[in-house]
């Protein structure tokens, strides 16, 4: 992104979309799109691990507060933030964390690796969130259906937000 202002705007819009739109969707119990993970996905590549962790904590707490879930979202966002660098290394083959600045983009990571990175982050977040939410595999069919449908819905929502903000990303 061009600067902190752009990221703050992205953060604000993402949170508002999640809180005022996606949290109020009552299509089905199977659809629970979690677009707020885009805030972590789009954090600048040179963000320090502690900065990632604190951002994840802030987003998780905000979501828990608005959803009334007392810790569930924090449980899911913290590992996503903590393991972002290993995911970027293994999934996107990116390792120049100290040299590269700006948000992840197709130009910085490559088209295929960039989308693989986004999908991995969303799936990882959804898997953590819905596993902890269910806490039981007694009704595995329902868990699987909710996980698959919600992950797909989250991906659609994340890509929609990225589409809106792509012009604001730096040209590199």
């Amino acid at each position: 992104m061009k600067g902190k202002g752009s990221y703050a705007l992205f953060f604000l819009v993402t949170v508002m979309v999640q809180v005022f739109l996606l949290n109020n969707l009552t299509v089905s119990v199977l659809f629970a799109p979690m677009a707020y993970v885009a805030c972590l996905i789009m954090m600048p590549l040179d963000s320090s691990p502690i900065k990632m962790l604190l951002t994840a904590l802030a987003i998780g707490l905000l979501m828990d507060f608005t959803m009334g879930t007392e810790g569930l979202n924090v449980i899911a966002t913290l590992p996503v933030a903590f393991f972002r660098r290993p995911i970027l290394s293994f999934v996107a083959g990116f390792s120049d964390f100290d040299k590269e600045e700006g948000a992840p983009s197709e130009k910085r990571l490559g088209v295929y690796r960039y989308h693989r990175y986004i999908v991995t982050m969303v799936v990882f977040h959804s898997l953590l969130l819905f596993s902890v939410e269910h806490l039981s595999f007694d009704n595995f069919g329902l868990f699987l259906a909710r996980f698959v449908c919600s992950t797909l819905a989250s991906l659609v929502a994340v890509y929609f937000l990225l589409l809106l903000f792509t012009p604001k990303f730096s040209a590199k």
Binding site: L53, L57, E70, G71, I75, L135
Partner: protein, 287 residues
Amino acid sequence: MHKLIYFIRKTYVAIIFVVLEIVALRCYAYSTPYTQSRLLAGSNAVVRYVYSSLHGVRHFFSLRSENIRLTERIAELENRLDAVGEYEAAMREEMGASEGVAVSIAHKYEYLPARVMSNSINHPQNYITLDKGFNQGVAINMAVLSPEGYAVGTIVNCSENFSIARSLLNTSFRVSARLAEDGSIGSVHWNGGDSQLADFDDVTKYAKIAEGDVVVAAGFSHYFPSDVIIGKVERATLRENATTYDCRIRLAADMSRLSNVLLVKNNSAGEAQSLEEQPLPSADESK
């Protein structure tokens, strides 16, 4: 010191991550009764698995001493068997029975070996989990003895393949006992303190008690065979009202090192119990 600072600087993010994750899990666990029960059940399963694995390792390394104890026990039982054989031969001679005629000696107690899966000694209410259940012939109220034959507890719950015994180290457990020499009766219970010491109360002031006297099960409960050793008197003090002794006894069984136990089934307990439960005839009826 420098190494410690270096280590913290290298790992502080991971430490913060783990701490935050634990705090979040704790908040979530206590948010609803459902999450509380599920997470507690999950953590209990993990703890049980770890405990079981550690116990397996400990059991392997204690096999040598276990073998020595078992050999000693076998020798003792062989001696007893010889004595029973002599007694049987004497009875046969007295009754004039020939060698082919068996002299029936009723088996009041049946013994069943079991392995200790878990055992606690540091709570007020301690229990022992055993690897035998209904399928192997275990029943509620069976007595539990150490391999040496010392009192350990009684079975309070039983599933198909496992059972739980209430340990002597349980503040709600009481057993009738008597002094082996003197015969004075009392009641043994644990007060929740030292795991090797228990109280032997309500012993009449006329009892001749000395340090080192053996305290055995009185056999009133139908479950513990009489004369099973519970412990030895360590000190005895006369109560302030001067009618009974309060004794401190050192338990015979080493409760912290139990790995194998013997379960004892009293074959006549059911009959005696049903007789006791029947209403007694009134004085007029008996005339």
